[in-house]
């Protein structure tokens, strides 16, 4: 009996010792992140946008430039420099001394090969080839891009989004593999290497031969980055409170409790709105259905929505109400204040009722809601994906505020695919949409609002889900795309015209700005970005497309709390 107890005790002691000393990843050299990966890691293909493991572009594969949205500046990254030598030719100088993680050098051949892949098979930058005619190799580190027509705003967008791929590994892949293959054990030029993964996490290990260590005197601080798979918001909250995650990019409600509860957490701004603005939440309106095809009705709808309520009650002031144009705060300089003063819309239920009455919408059957001009009932459904709790609460508030002026809008919560399907096919009535993100140019926003290829919307997911058709607007967007990126006056002039059209016709209604949700823990790492003058202003976000918008630089500034 005694022997049995002794054996059991020995086993327990060994296990405890094992747990205490058996960690593979040393806490002081590991950064735990979470908030982007909603399912187990399944591929590392940088061309499968939306699907690849966290950090595939950014930590492993890199882009030609980085873009800093807060200062509106490009930073040469894999490229040394780039400039337009004439109206239709762009000369790119590739940085020398960069090696892939397998030791081979990165040259202009790799860049040319990467862009030409878009010509051979269907990738997300393939549409570039409808206005790019050829790429010529001038020498081992210089390329000339010859264009049929130059869309300067869009080109800049590709410069910081297209990942550079190694020709010596990708040339032998068949095109199907290039487009939809898993790309196991990825080889890139970036500061991290593939280390390991399982169904709960992705582990990246530091690349000690990263080119920027010598070229830019930059070194990433964490030796390991472990990105944890989200299972639910509650679970992420628990991990953040326990100090298991250092950087969390989930939406976590109750921010004021988190910041003052002694958990060593902080956000980019110490006070409201706490987070930087990432994208605008719009109200998609289906212009193909009655009565939303009537601009007067849309106007009344816009006046009836109490956005302030959503901002304060739903989000606890973690977001800001959007300005009437819907442009993000980084594009404040493009907002034409005169147009906004004349045509801007804000919450005014009395005015909404006035507009409805003047347009001929009356409550004929006395149920408290207005009917169509032909006496048919108006019952509209507003949809958001099921499980997105903040949006679900938001549409309940919207429904209540529209009902208060007499418009019958019911909230509905289909699952994500059903919601996406309805938007893509144009079968919805009203929906919340936040597709257009922070980018280098407001052109991307107007391209989303006035997306012109109406027939292609179901496959390209380009925007304009309400199917607004206005050739003048479409032409203005193309005109904007063709303007040089330093032509501030020219851009403002065209954007002002677009804003006038947008605010007159109201094809889509801006509501609030969703944040770059970022909770940072100083329990194990310090020197995080923040709005304070003494801190760096890089983006603290691990989502796709943000690493190359300076989040990678955040890693170079971190300091471990326990010095090695």
């Amino acid at each position: 009996m005694f022997k049995k107890i002794a054996m059991l005790a020995l086993v327990i002691v060994l296990l405890c010792a094992g747990i205490a000393f058996g960690q593979v990843f040393e806490r002081s050299e590991t950064l735990y992140t979470g908030g982007k990966q909603w399912g187990p890691v399944s591929n590392w293909n940088p061309l499968m946008t939306g699907n690849y493991a966290t950090g595939t572009i950014g930590l492993v594969y890199e882009t030609l430039f980085l873009y800093d949205p807060l200062t509106d500046k490009f930073m040469p990254w894999l490229a040394e420099s780039g400039q337009w030598t004439d109206a239709l030719t762009y000369e790119l100088k590739v940085r020398q001394g960069v090696n892939w993680s397998d030791g081979k050098p990165l040259t202009a051949d790799d860049v040319k090969f990467t862009f030409e892949l878009g010509q051979k098979t269907a990738l997300n930058f393939s549409s570039l080839w409808s206005w790019l005619s050829s790429i010529t190799k001038v020498d081992d580190y210089t390329l000339g891009f010859k264009f049929k027509s130059a869309l300067y705003q869009e080109w800049d967008n590709y410069l910081y989004n297209v990942p550079m791929l190694p020709q010596h590994l990708w040339a032998s892949k068949d095109l199907k593999d290039v487009a939809i293959g898993a790309n196991e054990k990825p080889v890139g030029s970036g500061p991290y290497l593939y280390f390991a993964y399982d169904q709960t996490k992705m582990v990246w290990a530091k690349n000690d031969n990263w080119w920027a260590i010598k070229a830019l005197s930059l070194s990433v601080a964490p030796k390991y980055i472990v990105d944890l798979v989200n299972t639910s918001n509650e679970n992420s909250l628990g991990l953040v409170l326990q100090g298991q995650e250092d950087l969390n990019n989930n939406y976590l409600p109750g921010i004021s409790t988190l910041l003052t509860g002694g958990y060593a957490l902080h956000t980019y701004y110490p006070v409201a709105p706490y987070h930087l603005a990432a994208n605008t939440a719009w109200l998609d309106v289906n212009l193909q259905k009655k009565p939303m095809d009537d601009v007067a009705f849309r106007k009344a709808l816009a006046y009836s929505i109490n956005v302030a309520d959503i901002v304060s009650r739903d989000y606890g002031n973690m977001v800001q109400a959007a300005n009437p144009t819907g442009l993000l705060p980084i594009w404040d300089k493009y907002v034409d204040q005169n147009v906004v003063k004349k045509l801007g819309i804000s919450y005014d239920p009395a005015k909404a009722k006035q507009i409805l009455a003047a347009a001929g919408y009356k409550d004929v059957n006395g149920d408290g809601f207005v009917e169509n001009k032909d006496k048919s009932l108006i019952t509209l459904k507003i949809i958001v994906p099921n499980g997105w709790s903040d949006w679900m609460a938001a549409i309940q508030i919207i429904s209540n505020s529209t009902k208060a002026v007499g418009i019958n809008v019911q909230p509905d919560y289909p699952d994500f695919n059903g919601y996406l399907d309805a938007r893509l096919k144009g079968t919805f009535d009203l929906a919340i949409d936040n597709q257009a993100q922070v980018s280098n140019t407001p052109w991307s926003y107007y391209h989303f609002i006035f997306y012109d290829k109406l027939a292609d919307i179901p496959t390209t997911q380009g925007g304009n889900y309400g199917r607004y058709n206005n050739q003048t607007a479409f032409d203005l967007v193309t005109q904007l795309d063709k303007l040089a990126t330093n032509d501030l006056q020219g851009m403002k002039a065209v954007i002002s015209k677009l804003q006038t059209i947008q605010l007159t016709d109201l094809p889509i209604i801006p509501l609030w700005y969703n944040g770059m949700w970022a909770q940072m823990s100083s329990a194990n790492w310090t020197n995080w970005p923040s709005s304070a003058d003494k801190d760096n202003h890089y983006l603290p976000v691990t989502w796709n497309g943000y690493w190359n918008m300076t989040s990678i630089l955040m890693l170079t500034q971190l300091k471990p709390v326990v010095a090695k």
């Binding site: 187990p40 199907k176 390991a196 628990g238 994500f416 996406l420 390209t460």
Partner: protein, 329 residues
């Protein structure tokens, strides 16, 4: 006996074919086109989208006529190939399921077996005396009526957040990779305790109540009264009663083991335990029909095997079945 088993086997094979056919049919008749969703995430022009669409159709084997797809499915089944997942493209479904199965078995096998033994023992005690009955029965009723996820959340909150002595998330520490080391085994056990406890407690209640009712029924049977009249010791009577009462419990156990691979879905969600139940939920939410198909296939096979095992066990345990079989011979 051979005819008995032969007939059983035939019925099982027929059931299997029918179940697998229905399993194959369901995803193809569900609304929505998950491949379209996969493509729209890539944001391509219409012509480009068509090319990628053809790649995906090829990858999923949907470019052949439907009867050929059915035959290909059976062929692949016997090679252990359950297709490719949509949600976790391009990983094969069998790989995803196999990663989850060990955790399900680790969690559920002990939970079911230990709760079965303990529940039956305590249920039998309850039938002994009124005092025991008055304590064990209410406890059993409360436990069996407790929802799994509620108990899971309470335990996780109590031991994980308040007392901070046990982890409440994952199957092993996020700082470790799977390996054969004391550290990993220890971490595995540490993360296993709470989900195991939340399953064990609820199931225990169920078995205890069931056993108690069966024993009381047996003690009221004619043979029990007869033995008592003959002056047999109480212990002997209880032994006989136990052996009779255990039979329906064995059936119940087999059925529970059969659905072991469906996993304790809600418990796995509460504790983020990477088992098949969690996979099923994700497959449904992400319209991943092939993963769903694979998971259901596992359940079908599991249930049929468990049923078959029970048929054999009954023959061994219950002499009346043996006699019944001989009567047919």
């Amino acid at each position: 006996m051979r005819r008995y088993f032969g007939r059983k086997l035939l019925i099982y094979i027929f059931t299997f074919v029918l179940a697998v056919t229905i399993d194959w049919l369901i995803p193809r008749f569900m609304p929505g086109n998950p491949i379209q969703i996969l493509i729209s995430r890539a944001g391509l022009k219409a012509e480009s989208a068509n090319l990628i669409y053809s790649y995906y159709i090829q990858a999923f084997g949907l470019n052949v006529p439907i009867w050929q797809q059915y035959l290909n499915f059976w062929n692949a089944l016997f090679h252990g190939d359950f297709g490719i997942s949509i949600w976790l493209f391009p990983q094969p479904v069998i790989q995803i399921i196999m990663r989850a199965v060990p955790f399900d078995v680790l969690l559920l096998l002990p939970a079911i077996l230990v709760s079965w033994f303990a529940g039956n023992k305590f249920g039998a005690y309850a039938a002994r005396s009124k005092w025991l009955d008055n304590t064990i029965s209410p406890l059993g009723y409360i436990l069996t009526a407790t929802p799994y996820m509620w108990l899971g959340i309470v335990l996780g909150w109590l031991f994980g957040i308040i007392l901070r002595i046990l982890p409440f998330s994952g199957a092993y520490s996020y700082a470790m990779m799977p390996s054969f080391s004391w550290a990993f085994v220890g971490s595995l056990l540490e993360h296993w305790i709470l989900p195991f406890a939340s399953l064990f407690l609820v199931m225990f209640g169920g078995w205890a109540i069931g056993m108690r009712n069966m024993i009381i029924y047996e003690l009221e049977a004619d043979y029990s009264h007869y033995l008592e009249a003959l002056g047999a010791p109480k212990k002997l009577i209880r032994q006989y009663a136990f052996r009779n009462a255990i039979l329906p419990q064995i059936t119940g156990l087999a059925l529970q083991l059969g659905v072991i691979v469906a996993g304790a879905l809600v418990t796995e969600i509460v504790f983020s335990y990477p088992g098949i139940g969690y996979l099923i939920l994700q497959a449904i939410q992400n319209h991943d029909y092939f993963l769903l198909q694979g998971c259901f296939l596992f359940i079908i096979i599991g249930v049929l095997l468990a049923n078959f095992a029970i048929d054999i066990t009954y023959v061994l345990v219950d002499p009346r079945t043996r006699t019944g079989m001989q009567g047919e011979g």
